[in-house]
Subunit: 313 residues, 3 copies
């Protein structure tokens, strides 16, 4: 099936959160405990991806192709509970599958100088942002923990987007996704572009208020969009004030890349909203070629597999 | 168009929160930063009022006439961020447009004796309540801040309604609208009538729980009723247990008086609920003529433009 | 009307929270202040039960029979505000109406040794769980108060279910139902089966997140299921991931046993979900005969009125 056959929508997809079955990801709990992962997926009302169960990159790439997912955003991670994936592993994955993945850097927030040096190193290597998962750090913290403020300041000053995991199982308990923490960060760093990964779920109305108020806040509900309580409110916001700051992500392997994209394409989104959610918003945020001000058209990105990760993006 | 032409509803309207383009209001951020204001209005899915953009009282009064808004409740304000409007300015507006506006007094909560003296002075001048905006004060505080308790006690003992802004951009972050604060005030002063302005949004279910539990709590979602997440729950409550404690307000100029009233009249509210929300609840709460126990019928209020603010209400 | 006539559903009902008009319950506020109670019931959109107004056990039993409620779970209580009901009173009610009621023990959390001894005494007498109402204790506490942890540990080690009232008027203010407290208990005692009584309302999405994450958490929205804000989310969860951990309860006399059961049976629940909510989940949780691993079929329980409370359960 070609892209143009998909229900009238030919827009390719940037999947904003993908954990491919490769390198350090294979040591994460979502691959080492497949029963746990599959139970989670089924609780969402979805079927686990065959590629996840087979731990097969080839199968994942085929699923991405069939789903029209041109690019997966791959985020390094620093965590005891979930397992860590190094920035170098993510960079290697980007290199090994050129044009298919974009790297996002993880940090250790307990040493500000080393964290900032690592951010600079990875951005120079072609990464496109920083992944902060406060509640998942070995010593859990809230998104507005003072130890993170030098990192936020550094990113704000350099125009580096920060992805904050603040939703779902974001930490030891539900307080770690409480929206006030992200709200404070967004207010204290008004030029810092912040993606709320896992969409602040279950605090849906509350994180939408934060995004309504703070123009630097993007919302990516990830797999919690799939009919978790409040999901319709995400959609309404995406069709309204949040149109330019709503991001699509499967959180593969927690949701299957293919079934999830098919489901998303059938949602009652206005066509402009759908295209923005699937591609344009993420491309502009990450400064990918094909986005506003970039040199290449979007189609070139999908096909530009000769480019190395550090060049593209 | 006469009042009786409006979809079978001839009830006039008390708009519980109006900031007319006059005197001190013109120095508030919502008039000095029209682009910011209009963006807010459009994020709600509404079009800015022409009177707001023209800063024209004549146009506003014409819009109120066309919308059937007989009375606007005008609240003084003490705030750094939003800008302050003095009680004397509000009194002057009430005097200059007799019968069209009702005054509500602002206070400086950091000096209890002066605050109470000011309340008494303004109530003697015809004001009908006190406006408390804890998170917007120069030193932000929560609604249950101890410094506000002497004010609440004074108002409870004298039957003066208190309007607490605890929703939307109620303070530096979303914790300022967290419903526990209003809940505690309502429990600690059970005879104090409290209007939750901005309806506790985005904590919709939570503030409705508070109102379910506390019979002295009124809810005015203001412009957040306009399809913000949770708005249907406000409506259901208005049609149910909250029927006598639900208040209509546009928060003009954040929402346009005319379009907003037209939209509200089309909502699936039971006719008794609509009339209560638009007029009866506010009239009874503020002790306006025409409400239970008052000497004059409601129609007299709309037309009684000869009366001065301090006499009417 | 026989059970098989009820809309195709012949499943009998375990009503997970019933306060019969007998013994110590008659001294509780819900019987001593009937006007308060009836106002509450009507705010929910329900009509007070005639048996409640007449304080008649015979009428209640007839209402239970007509509603198909085979078993009522009766929870002792230790509270100043609501009134206390002793474990011995609950045991007496179970004895006096054999086969119709199951006892749940209350504790005084301020003395851990006495609390644990009392739990052991009542479990030996046939009780089936422990009722913890943190915010309603004479000295209100949160569900994750350290003083409760020895009780939780004792129950976890012995497989005793704990019912935590954490919803509705759960304490002096809405913070007592804040979902983080139950979340922490569930995380700290992963083998402890916890029923969130009053369903964490109004924190509906949030408690569903907790139950999504914690497999040891059961949700019983009780009368707040009756069209309180968020109630559809409870239903969707019951039809989905929560199917085996959703419990039906009227909280009689706050809702009427009969009208409430009729309303519940008409809800759009899948037939498996309905049967689980009405009987199977509670029977399995409490280890009643007829549940998995028990010796007797469910029908025998309804009819087994010859059995004494301490034998059955």
């Amino acid at each position: 099936m070609s892209h143009s056959d998909r229900g009238g929508s030919s827009a390719p997809i940037i999947d904003f959160r993908v954990r491919p079955p490769a390198r350090g990801f294979l040591d994460m709990i979502m691959y080492t405990s497949p029963a746990r992962r599959d139970r989670f997926t089924r609780q969402l009302g979805l079927e686990p991806a065959r590629s996840a169960q087979a731990r097969s990159m080839d199968m994942l790439l085929a699923e991405m192709d069939r789903a029209g997912v041109g690019v997966g955003v791959v985020q390094a991670r620093f965590s005891d509970f979930f397992g860590s994936v190094s920035n170098d592993d993510v960079a290697a994955i980007c290199r090994e599958y050129p044009g298919r993945f974009v790297g996002i850097a993880a940090i250790d927030p307990t040493g500000r100088r080393a964290a900032i040096a690592e951010i600079d190193r990875m951005m120079a290597a072609g990464f496109r942002g920083v992944n902060v998962e406060p509640g998942a750090y070995p010593v859990p913290m809230y998104p507005d923990d003072r130890r993170l403020y030098p990192v936020y300041a550094h990113c704000e000053d350099r125009g580096i987007p920060v992805i904050i995991m603040a939703g779902g199982n974001a930490g030891p308990d539900v307080s770690y996704s409480f929206p006030v923490h992200v709200d404070r960060v967004a207010g204290d760093f008004p030029a810092l572009k912040i993606v709320v990964s896992h969409g602040g779920w279950p605090w849906v109305s509350e994180i939408l208020h934060v995004a309504f108020r703070r123009e630097n806040v993007y919302v990516s509900p990830d797999m919690y969009l799939h009919e978790a309580p409040g999901w319709e409110d995400y959609l309404r916001a995406a069709n309204g004030f949040l149109a330019e700051r709503f991001l699509y992500a499967s959180c593969y392997p927690l949701a299957p890349v293919e079934e999830y994209a098919e489901w998303f394409r059938r949602l009652p989104l206005e066509s402009g909203t759908r295209e923005r959610a699937l591609w344009r918003n993420a491309a502009a945020l990450l400064g990918l070629p094909g986005s506003a001000g970039a040199a290449e058209p979007a189609t070139a990105i999908i096909q530009g597999k000769e480019q190395a990760c550090r060049d593209w993006p």
